[in-house]
């Protein structure tokens, strides 16, 4: 694998039987509770909910953003806007990959001025994807502020970036991989796995 960013790893091909080297770290309940808590924290820290955009990074970030928006709706009885922010054309590793994944269309409610864009992703690792996402967002306009929500923070940052909302802090070794599975995206039950070498 050329990239060290777990977000784009499809991980080793897994059959029905989970290989012995993978350890479950979150199950469906734990994921639900973590996202519910993030939704609460977002409400707590942002007095103007109408100004918020939950912008997911495809494909799992988009699903996580959708779920957080649902929790906000259930708790506050109001809708928050969601969007999609594809980072492929803003990455800094062009020309280093032997194959390219499909680029998805970015969709953000415009104008971004006066809004708080919350980037949503499944795993925070090197921080390079988040940097690319911030770059992509600024090509749409100048939001009042940008925040970051992730399901798992596994450490090993290569850039000065931190998350505002974290589902679970999970110290890892660089060789290990974090694999997030979400029912609506992967056709597998919700789970987070730690894959050891």
């Amino acid at each position: 694998m050329l990239m060290n960013d777990t977000k784009h790893n499809t991980g080793p091909a897994r059959t029905n039987a989970t290989p012995p080297a993978s350890v479950p770290v979150m199950d469906a309940d734990a994921i639900r509770r973590a996202l519910q808590r993030i939704a609460h924290e977002i409400v707590e820290r942002n007095s103007e909910l109408k100004a918020i955009v939950l912008a997911g990074i495809p494909s799992r970030g988009v699903e996580i953003a959708r779920r957080i928006a649902e929790f906000v709706r259930a708790g506050e009885k109001m809708d928050v806007e969601t969007g999609v922010i594809d980072v492929a054309m803003h990455r800094d590793d062009v020309g280093t990959r032997a194959e390219l994944p499909v680029v998805r269309e970015s969709k953000l409610p415009l104008p971004l001025e006066q809004r708080t864009v919350i980037i949503v992703d499944d795993v925070l690792f090197t921080g390079r994807t988040v940097r690319a996402a911030m770059d992509a967002i600024s090509s749409f306009g100048r939001p009042a502020r940008i925040q970051l929500a992730v399901l798992v923070d596994r450490g090993h940052r290569e850039l000065p970036i931190r998350a505002d909302y974290v589902g679970k802090n999970l110290p890892t070794a660089t060789r290990e991989q974090i694999q997030v599975r979400l029912a609506n995206v992967d056709n597998e039950p919700d789970a987070v796995w730690l894959l050891k070498e």
Binding site: M89, L100, V102, E105
Partner: protein
């Protein structure tokens, strides 16, 4: 659908799989969206150098590739035939090797000889994009035609696409035929028998020399330019007669279904293959083709230029 792109070159649509064609079209959706942003530029090919090498004149394709490269943040050098060393007797290969010695990453080539892009692609480490080679292929034009049809009609499969005009000399026709038949469209070629020979039936298309019987069944009509510069007179008696027999006049346009798309790769010869009013009418998507061409070329440059070579 396949989810990965692995080619460094785009030489023609004949060699692409259905999955690869769909992959490009899907990638184009994302790049078309870039044109609507406040900042219409992404850093995808920052630090890459692109050479626009047009050995044959072209304004539209040349400009489209140039703007596409700008929007992807690549550095661009434009070389036209008249100013190149080809006029001083240098071979194509030597010119290209010199360009590569300058560490060009992507070579966009327009050439009057069929196969010139393939010749270079096999010999160079750089990505080679065919911007039209002789009467062989013009893959980005074929792709932008497909994209425009898909965008306006929601699908390609089972649509009846009628291509009218100079098929024999047309690389646009060939790229369209290869891609449309792969994606399940029904294709009919229309024109004088000198320009639409029976041999084309081998490509899985129908042939007709009577436009009035074909137009009522068409979902898309793609009119090709009569290429004055390529034609010797004997292919048809006069442009007046061509217009009378095959031109899309106002009267003929009434034969079309109301949702039939009218396309033209440009530049149009108003009053020859198409009436002015028809070209500017509601069914015409000629300018959408131009807009989509930019997005297609961004996608192709990103895909071919973005992989490790």
């Amino acid at each position: 659908m396949s989810t990965r792109w692995t080619r460094k070159d785009l030489l023609g649509l004949r060699e692409l799989s259905v999955d690869e064609i769909n992959f490009i079209l899907e990638t184009t959706d994302a790049f078309k969206q870039v044109g609507t942003r406040e900042i219409k530029k992404v850093p995808a090919l920052r630090g890459k150098t692109l050479i626009n090498f047009f050995v044959e004149p072209s304004t539209r394709t040349h400009t489209s590739f140039e703007l596409a490269a700008h929007r992807l943040s690549a550095d661009i050098i434009n070389i036209a035939a008249s100013s190149s060393s080809l006029t001083k007797g240098e071979t194509l290969k030597d010119t290209a090797r010199n360009l590569e010695a300058l560490h060009a990453d992507i070579l966009v080539l327009r050439h009057s000889s069929a196969g010139a892009p393939q010749f270079l692609a096999q010999r160079l480490k750089s990505s080679v994009i065919n911007a039209g080679d002789g009467a062989h292929e013009h893959p980005t034009q074929g792709l932008l035609d497909l994209y425009t049809i898909r965008e306006k009609r929601g699908r390609i499969e089972n649509l009846h696409v009628v291509i009218v005009g100079d098929i024999l000399f047309s690389r646009v026709a060939r790229s369209n035929i290869f891609a449309l038949t792969k994606l399940g469209a029904r294709v009919t070629l229309v024109g004088p028998s000198t320009l639409v020979p029976r041999e084309f039936e081998k490509l899985g298309v129908a042939i007709s020399h009577r436009i009035d019987t074909v137009l009522p069944e068409a979902d898309v009509v793609n009119l090709l330019r009569i290429q004055h510069e390529r034609q010797r007179k004997e292919y048809f008696p006069s442009t007046g007669e061509y217009t009378a027999l095959f031109g899309l006049t106002k009267k003929r346009a009434k034969l079309l279904k109301p949702d039939c798309l009218i396309m033209h790769p440009g530049p149009i010869n108003r009053g020859v293959e198409i009436d002015s009013d028809v070209a500017d009418g509601l069914q015409s998507v000629i300018l959408d083709q131009v807009t989509n061409g930019l997005a297609i070329r961004m996608a192709v440059l990103y895909l071919c230029g973005g992989i490790a070579t």
